[in-house]
C-alpha cells in the first residue's frame, strides 16, 4: 500500500510538472521552430543536396548556439518586464534605440517579403495563384491575433509549429541510409573536396539562418506579453531548449531529404527542391511544399509581431495580444499594415524579389551584432538583472558565441555584396 501511494504521488507530481511546463511552453518553441523559415528551409535543402549527410553534425552544433542566445532573452524579459527595443532605449539612450528599432522594422519587412515569397512558391506547386495564397495568409494571420488573448494566439502558433515537423515523416518515408545519417551526425567531418569557398559560404548561410535579429526581439517581447515571472524562468529555459532541439531535428530532416533524393544537384530555393521531388515521390514533394508554406507562415506571424511589439513598447501605446483591437488600435494597425505591405510586394509583377532576398542578408548584418552586444551588456548589468545576471560560464559561452556569430555574419553579408571576395 505504501509503495502504491508513493507511486501515485510520483505520478501526480510528474503530471503536475508536465502541465506546468505546457502552460509556460510557447515563446521558446515558437521562436526556434519559426527560425526554420522559408529562407532557412532553402539553406538546409541546399546543404543536403550539395554536401549530402556530411554537415548534419554542424547543424546539431548550432542548436546549443541558438539556445544560449535565446535563453538570455528569456531572463532579460522575465526580470525587466521590457521588450528588447524598450530595454535598448532605456539602457543605451535614444540614438541606439532608434537605430535598433528602425533597422529592425526595415529588416523585418524585407524578411516578411521573403516569407511570402516562400509561401506563394509553395502553393504554386499545387496550382494556387499567388494572390490567393497571399489573401488566405492575411485572413489566417489576422484571425489568429484578433482573439484578444495571447494564450489563444500562442496555442494556434504551436499547432503550426507542429506542422513544421512534417519534414520528419517525409524523411522517414524515403528510407534514407541510416548509417550515413548517424555518421554525418556524430562524426565531425568535411565533405569530399575539403574546405572550399563554396562550403564556407554555405556554412555561413547556415549560421546566418540560425540566429536572426527578429528572434531576439520576438522572444523577449513574447515572454513579457505572456506574463512570465522570474519563478517561471526555468520552464522558459526548458521551453527554449526543446525549441532548439526541434529546430535541429527539422533542419536535419531537410538535409536528409535532399541528400537522399537530390544528391549533387544545385538547389536555389526549397520550392525548386519540392518540384524535383514530385516525379520521384509525389507525397514527399507535397509534404515539402506544405512544410515550406508552414515555414513561411510561421516566420511571417512571428516577424510581424516582433516589429509591432517593438513599436508599441517604444511609443508607449497598448501593445499586447491580450488587448482587443479597440484597446490597442495602433498595435494591430501596425501589424496588419506590415502584413499587407509585405504581401503586396510579392504580387507586384517583376518585383525585384531576388534583390530583396539579398538585401535581407546584408541588412541583417547591421542589426544582429548590435542586438547581440546589447543583449550581453544588459545581461551583465547587475542593477538590472540582480541575481539573474550572467555567470562567468555564461559570459564565456555567450561572448564566444556572439563574437563568432558577428564575424561569420559579417563575412556572409560582405560576400553577399561582393560575391567574388571569397573566390565565389
Amino acid at each position: 500500500m505504501n509503495i502504491l501511494s508513493k507511486f501515485y504521488y510520483r505520478y501526480k507530481k510528474i503530471l503536475k510538472t508536465i502541465r506546468l511546463y505546457l502552460i509556460i511552453a510557447g515563446p521558446g518553441i515558437i521562436v526556434m521552430v519559426a527560425d526554420n523559415d522559408a529562407g532557412g528551409i532553402t539553406t538546409y535543402t541546399a546543404t543536403g543536396a550539395q554536401y549530402s549527410f556530411h554537415l548534419i553534425w554542424f547543424l546539431i552544433l548550432l542548436g546549443p548556439v541558438a539556445y544560449y542566445v535565446q535563453e538570455m532573452t528569456v531572463r532579460l524579459g522575465a526580470v525587466t518586464k521590457r521588450g528588447h527595443a524598450e530595454a535598448i532605449f532605456h539602457s543605451f539612450g535614444s540614438f541606439w534605440g532608434w537605430f535598433s528599432l528602425l533597422d529592425l522594422v526595415f529588416l523585418d519587412w524585407l524578411t516578411m517579403i521573403t516569407e511570402f515569397i516562400g509561401m506563394t512558391a509553395a502553393m504554386s506547386i499545387f496550382g494556387v495563384p499567388p494572390i490567393v495564397t497571399v489573401i488566405i495568409s492575411w485572413i489566417v494571420m489576422g484571425t489568429m491575433v484578433l482573439q484578444g488573448r495571447y494564450w489563444t494566439w500562442e496555442k494556434a502558433a504551436l499547432v503550426f509549429c507542429g506542422l513544421n515537423l512534417i519534414y520528419i515523416p517525409a524523411a522517414i518515408m524515403i528510407n534514407p541510409p541510416v548509417d550515413k545519417i548517424l555518421h554525418g551526425s556524430f562524426i565531425p567531418q568535411l565533405p569530399p573536396g575539403g574546405f572550399t569557398n563554396a562550403l564556407f559560404f554555405l556554412l555561413m548561410a547556415n549560421i546566418g539562418t540560425t540566429i536572426a535579429p527578429w528572434m531576439i526581439f520576438f522572444q523577449q517581447s513574447a515572454v513579457v506579453d505572456k506574463g512570465m515571472q522570474e519563478k517561471d524562468m526555468l520552464w522558459g529555459k526548458i521551453d527554449t531548449a526543446v525549441g532548439s532541439f526541434l529546430t535541429v531535428v527539422v533542419a536535419a530532416g531537410c538535409v536528409v531529404l535532399t541528400a537522399t533524393l537530390l544528391p549533387g544537384q544545385i538547389i536555389n530555393d526549397a520550392a525548386t527542391a519540392a518540384l524535383r521531388f514530385l516525379p520521384i515521390n509525389r507525397y514527399v514533394g507535397a509534404l515539402l511544399a506544405i512544410g515550406l508554406l508552414d515555414a513561411g507562415f510561421l516566420g511571417a506571424i512571428c516577424i510581424s509581431l516582433a516589429s509591432s511589439w517593438a513599436f508599441g513598447e517604444v511609443f508607449g501605446w497598448a501593445h499586447s495580444l491580450n488587448h482587443k483591437v479597440k484597446e490597442a488600435p495602433w498595435f494591430y494597425a501596425y501589424y496588419f499594415f506590415d502584413l499587407l505591405l509585405a504581401g503586396t510586394v510579392v504580387l507586384i509583377p517583376r518585383a525585384p524579389l531576388v534583390l530583396i532576398t539579398l538585401f535581407v542578408q546584408v541588412i541583417a548584418v547591421t542589426l544582429l551584432p548590435a542586438a547581440l552586444v546589447f543583449l550581453i551588456l544588459l545581461l551583465n548589468n547587475e542593477e538590472t538583472m540582480g541575481e539573474y545576471k550572467n555567470t562567468l560560464f555564461q559570459n564565456v559561452a555567450n561572448i564566444g558565441i556572439v563574437v563568432m556569430i558577428i564575424v561569420i555574419s559579417t563575412l556572409y553579408g560582405i560576400s553577399a555584396l561582393f560575391p567574388k571576395i571569397l573566390g565565389g
Binding site: F92, S94, P369, L417
Partner: protein
C-alpha cells in the same frame, strides 16, 4: 488630417527622445569600449555598402 498625423508623430518622437535622453546603464569601461567598437563596426559596414552602391551606379 495627414498633417495632424505627422505632427503628432513628431511630438511623440520628441517625447521619446526626452524620456530616453540619458542612458540608464552604468557606463563602465567595458560598456564604453563595446559601444565604441560597435560604432566603428557599423560605420565600416555602412561605408562598404555605400561603396558597393556607388560602384553599382557606375
Amino acid at each position: 488630417m495627414i498633417f495632424d498625423f505627422f505632427r503628432n508623430t513628431a511630438e511623440a518622437v520628441r517625447a521619446i527622445n526626452q524620456k530616453y535622453a540619458t542612458p540608464h546603464i552604468k557606463m563602465t569601461r567595458g560598456v564604453r569600449f563595446s559601444l565604441g567598437v560597435l560604432r566603428f563596426y557599423l560605420l565600416l559596414l555602412v561605408g562598404i555598402m555605400v561603396y558597393k552602391f556607388i560602384t553599382l551606379l557606375h
